[in-house]
Amino acid sequence: MLILTCPYCGVTGEETEFAAGGEAHLKRFGPGSSDAEFESYLFARKNEKGVTFERWRHANGCGKWFHAARCTVTLEVFGTYKAQVTEPPKEILAAIRKRRPGWEPAA
């Protein structure tokens, strides 16, 4: 059971306090998008082994959505950050590279 810190209310809590919401930073495709774009938005997930960016919600707390950068292999949490971004912020990327030198985000 992971421990995460909500970047809104600052509470550090057990995983049961949060709800997982799948891959972060998906780009929404709506009307006018190609079948391939829409399919990738709806179904294609990176499901990475290693560094991953996830959506979480402080479900049994302040109710806010946030993102977590963590490693699915070692269970390390590199950081959590607010959901109002389209890509991981610089300080999160720096925190990941500090522990995973040479790491590059997957395309």
Binding site: M1, L2, I3, E14, E15, G21, R28, F29, G30, P31, G32, S33, D35, F38, Y41, L42, R55, R57, G63, K64, W65, C71, V73, T74, L75, E76, V77, A83, Q84, R99
Partner: protein
């Protein structure tokens, strides 16, 4: 025979006799006995039957690794199957029965499987599943079902109490042997908050049994002193009878405390599940002795050598008068010496090693014990009890050199560290060549949130083999854990132990080395599941190279003991058969719990009324007082109907429908979701959420709307009212309020976070009551207050005002097709308002109605119900709801998906009404059956019933369903299959059965 000795028994109190029964037989034991020890003391070696072949099974071990001695414990509401006799503390009045046999333990008819063993090899289940089909159905399945299953499931509700407990510590030490005690001491001395847990009732583990000497005193005394020191430390908590069940992410661990198993009837909770957060975890879980694989190693009387010693020293019980010891290592010599000291006969020590000159061997020879080196056991003689062994050369093929009479065999195949808890959360293992076992690799420990190692092993769990090594390792582990948790360890030296010189063990995976097939198919690896050496070899021959596949194919290690004894032996045999090294083959995955924990402990206090909180509307109590027949709706309870005396529920429902259609009815609709959406961008937001236009809705008006997910599937519906320029009130389904509120939040927070919109879920702030029927307006007029006339408050309008003195928001919306007012009042006024309505309504024959009448009336009107007409694969277009889908809007959630080729396609199952030709009610969920069969050989199906009721209004069955191209097939008669395999014919009709023009609601 096995019997009680006159001496020894460090854990029993001979002054306190306890009575118990086994299979109805009255027996006696002593306080401090385990059930297994007491059974052996009564010469009850035969305790059960194996799972597949129903072979006689005796007690093999003395701890939680025991695969055989599983019993049904207790009776009635305290019956619990599959309880290990070796970890069950004896108490006065204990009742146990053996398992997996018919009609009796001594004579079991299923033992016939044993003679069929050649026909039930590895993968038997898989093979019979595949071919031939008829044989599975008529021959194997009935046979297997009859003989399957260990134990008996209890029939009564559990009479005991269970609870959860939360603990937060710096260092959790799992295991209270000398390693755990020392680790806890080192961590405690550093100032860390320490929790030390031990699964057995007593502390110290094996060391006192093995005669270890620590700091110049017997281990027993050292344990006592160390315990005293720990108890004196305020920052250290000790808990015995508490197993470390699992280690999970970020230092989470589960402890399983058997609080009152040994004192039934006390008012204590029976089990307590500890949910522990630890900065560091020390696993001092010891090691488990491995069996040796020789023919007949499963015959009752063959035991682990350490277990034999445990029974003699701890309980004063001898498993046999004449015990042959067979081993590949020095430790088993301790068992031989221990038996000899107890005055028992040890005819022979059989040692596979060619030459043994260690001090223990010398001591054995001096004690007059015959030691045969380079030898093995060709086979064990006996059936329900060992009668002797046949000796052979270990290097040979099993030619018998000599037969030795004995009634017990003590075997030792070396020791495997208990790595389970280390492995649960990702700790990796390395192969230790010298001791032929896997041990934790300290360089690859489970990691926490910062990438730090959070588990460290101590003692034998690390692979340390002598008491001195164990204590040094444990001391270092305790200090390391304290340091990692932020404390500074004291510089005390680790305690010293007397030297225990020994010779290296010799790995032996099969005895003798060149055993024939006949011998190999009698060498048990997994005693509970009946997996033998020959089965694993067969799996390898059939192409099972992965250890995980072999496990599932042969069922090796899949029994309730989870392969504690069979794991290494099994994979060594597999590696040999594959011609690979053991580390290459690897182990199967270790999963929690370490040994099974009770369902009661998992549930804790969450049972009965407090299993789940119940949501109650402000009028709940009134419903209850007026005989409501309840229906669960989400976490709510809603009245299904209000049966009167002498009335069935069904009759009540029909009465409520007719009364509402003819006169007036009252519905508690408080559970309806009520979400306020407010802000400059609220209209724009709702246009994205609903398929139709909400931004154009006029203040004071209501509009029915549909919400879809991004897959295009219908997810919720309800009426939206525009409250003012920037405020909308969205009604959702009763079960959907929280979900839709979260759905709105999700989009606002994660996609359109720059839009100026707030949403609030006000569901519980208001009671909502529907007054429905031709006399609805009269009732409200009599109540007095605001104008509810057609002119002032037309259909699909809403108004705020006072009704009978109550603060009311009145919506002219109808889910029944009748003249209908839905009135929201503050929750605190809900009950009073309901009662006021009931009072004035009496003159009009007003009666309350429940959810079933509501459902029937909406079906009569052809209104869809989320969850009936929809199931997560239905788009609004399937339901003929095109009118509620905006063509003008560029975008809404689900729009793009609804343009996908298979969605934007008339070739789908679509909503129609269905009328049976004979007026009967179609069975719910039945399918429309076509001609012929599909690719899977099933009947061709082209539609299904989604809602079906008896309509009291129309006096016949009505239904809605989704039928292929349905709307184009009006008037066609199709047939539906029923559960009794007959057919019902129904005509496809318009789904609106009642008041097609909507005249009744718009008055």
């Amino acid at each position: 025979m096995s019997t009680r000795l006159a001496t020894q028994g460090r854990l029993i109190n001979r002054d306190k006799r306890l009575e118990f029964t086994f299979n109805g037989k009255r027996l006696q034991g002593y306080e401090g006995d385990t059930l297994a020890a007491a059974l052996l003391a009564n010469d009850q070696m035969l305790v059960g039957r194996s799972f597949k072949y129903h072979r006689p099974r005796g007690i093999l071990a003395s701890g939680s690794e025991e695969p055989n001695a599983l019993v049904n414990l207790g009776e009635g509401a305290r019956l619990e199957p599959n309880q290990r006799a070796t970890t069950t503390e004896l108490f006065h009045g204990l009742t146990a029965t053996s398992q997996n046999h018919f009609p009796s333990l001594e004579f079991d008819i299923g033992e016939i499987n044993n003679s069929l063993a050649r026909f039930l090899p590895a993968g038997f289940y898989y093979k019979t599943f595949i071919h031939p089909r008829f044989a599975w159905k008529h021959v194997f399945e009935p046979f297997i079902r009859q003989s399957a299953g260990l134990g008996k499931a209890p029939k009564e509700a559990d009479a005991d109490r269970y609870e959860h407990f939360y603990a937060f510590v710096d260092v959790l030490v799992i295991g209270g042997g000398v390693a755990g005690l020392q680790a806890a001491r080192a961590a405690g001395e550093a100032g860390a908050r320490v929790l030390l847990i031990e699964q057995e009732p007593h502390w110290g583990g094996r060391a006192p049994v093995d005669g270890a000497v620590i700091e110049g005193k017997p281990a027993e005394d050292w344990v006592k002193d160390t315990l005293q020191a720990l108890e004196a430390m305020e920052n250290v908590t000790l808990r015995n009878r508490m197993m470390g069940a699992g280690v999970y992410d970020h230092g989470y661990a589960l402890g399983y405390e058997r609080v009152a198993d040994h004192i039934p009837g006390s008012d204590l909770p029976r089990h307590r599940l500890w949910r522990i957060r630890a900065k560091q975890i020390v696993t001092a879980t010891g090691a488990i002795e491995r069996p040796l694989s020789f023919a007949g190693n499963d015959i009752p009387g063959v035991m682990l050598a350490t277990a034999v010693r445990d029974y003699v020293v701890n309980y004063g019980v001898s498993p046999g008068d004449r015990t042959v010891v067979v081993t590949n290592n020095d430790d088993a010599y301790r068992t031989a010496l221990c038996l000899k000291r107890a005055g028992l006969d040890v005819p022979m020590i059989v040692d596979v090693r060619p030459l043994v000159t260690s001090p223990l061997a010398t001591e054995a020879l001096q004690a007059g014990i015959r030691v045969e080196t380079g030898k093995g056991i060709a086979k064990v003689k006996g059936r329900k009890r060992v009668t002797g062994v046949a000796l052979c050369l270990q290097a040979g093929e099993g030619s018998v050199i000599e037969e030795v009479k004995c009634d017990a065999v003590a075997m030792s195949g070396g020791f495997s560290p208990v790595v389970h808890l280390w492995s649960h959360c990702g700790g990796k293992l390395i192969w230790d060549e010298a001791n032929a076992h896997f041990r934790p690799d300290p360089a690859r420990a489970p990691t926490g949130a910062q990438g730090e190692a959070f588990v460290v092993t101590a003692g034998m769990a690390s692979g340390a083999m002598t008491t001195g090594e164990v204590l040094a390792d444990a001391d270092a582990a305790g200090k390391a854990a304290a340091r990692a948790a932020g404390f500074t360890p004291r510089r005390f030296a680790a305690p010293k132990a007397a030297e225990e010189p020994s010779e290296p063990m010799a790995p032996v995976w099969m005895m003798p080395q060149g055993a024939s097939y006949d011998l190999r198919m009698k060498m048990w690896l997994d005693f509970q599941n009946d997996v033998k050496v020959s089965d694993v070899q067969l799996a390898a021959r059939e192409g099972y190279e992965s250890v995980e596949h072999t496990k599932r194919y042969t069922t090796l290690g899949m029994a309730t003991d989870q392969g504690k004894l069979s794991n290494i032996n099994g994979l060594a045999v597999l590696a040999d058969a594959l011609g690979e090294d053991i580390p290459q083959v690897g182990t199967t995955t270790f999963r929690p719990p370490y040994t099974p924990i009770s369902m009661g402990a998992i549930a804790g206090e969450a049972r009965g009324e407090i299993f789940q909180p119940l949501r109650r509307t402000p009028i709940h109590g009134w419903h209850e007082a007026h005989g409501a027949h309840w229906e669960p709706v989400g976490h709510w309870r809603r009245p299904y109907a209000y049966p009167k005396a002498g009335e069935t529920v069904e009759e009540a429902v029909h009465r409520e429908v007719l009364n509402t259609r003819r006169r007036v009815g009252l519905l508690d609709a408080s559970t309806l979701g009520k979400i306020v959406v407010k802000g400059p961008d609220a209209g724009r937001f709702l246009d994205m959420l609903y398929t139709n236009m909400m931004s154009t809705l006029k203040v004071g008006r209501c509009r029915y709307g549909l919400m879809c997910n991004e897959n295009g599937f219908l997810s919720d519906d309800g009426v939206v009212a525009r409250i003012d320029e920037d405020t909308w009130l969205c009604h959702t389904t009763s079960g959907g309020a929280d979900r839709i509120h979260q759905w709105m939040e999700e989009w606002l927070q994660t996609e359109w976070w720059d839009w100026k919109v707030y949403v609030a879920n006000l569901t519980e702030q208001y009671a909502q009551i529907a007054v429905v029927g031709p006399d609805a307006r009269h009732v409200l007029e009599r109540l007095g207050g605001m104008d509810v006339s057609k002119e002032t408050l037309p259909f699909m309008g809403w108004q705020e005002g006072k009704l009978g003195g109550f603060d009311a928001r009145v919506f002219r919306i109808s889910f029944s097709g009748e003249l209908s007012y839905e009135i929201a009042v503050p929750a605190s006024q809900g009950l009073a308002f309901w009662e006021a309505l009931m009072e004035v309504g009496e003159a009009y024959g007003m009666q309350p109605y429940g959810t079933e009448a509501l459902h029937i009336m909406r079906a009569e009107k052809g209104f869809i119900m989320i969850g009936d007409e929809t199931d997560g694969t239905v788009i609004p277009q399937d339901l003929g709801l095109h009118w509620a889908i905006s063509k003008k809007k560029e975008d809404y959630l689900g729009k793009r998906a609804q343009a996908r080729s298979f969605m934007d396609n008339p070739d789908r199952w679509q909503l129609v009404g269905l009328e049976t030709l004979d007026g009967s009610v179609l069975p719910d969920g039945c399918y429309a059956i076509g001609e012929g069969t599909n690719a899977n050989g099933q009947a061709e199906m082209f539609g299904r019933v989604t809602s079906t009721y008896y309509s009291p209004t129309l006096g016949r069955g009505i239904a809605m369903g989704l039928v292929h191209n349905g709307p184009q097939r009006m008037g066609e008669v199709i047939r539906f299959g029923t559960p009794d395999k007959s057919f019902v014919e129904a005509r496809i009709v318009d789904p609106v059965f009642y008041d097609k023009e909507g005249e009744k609601q718009n008055v």
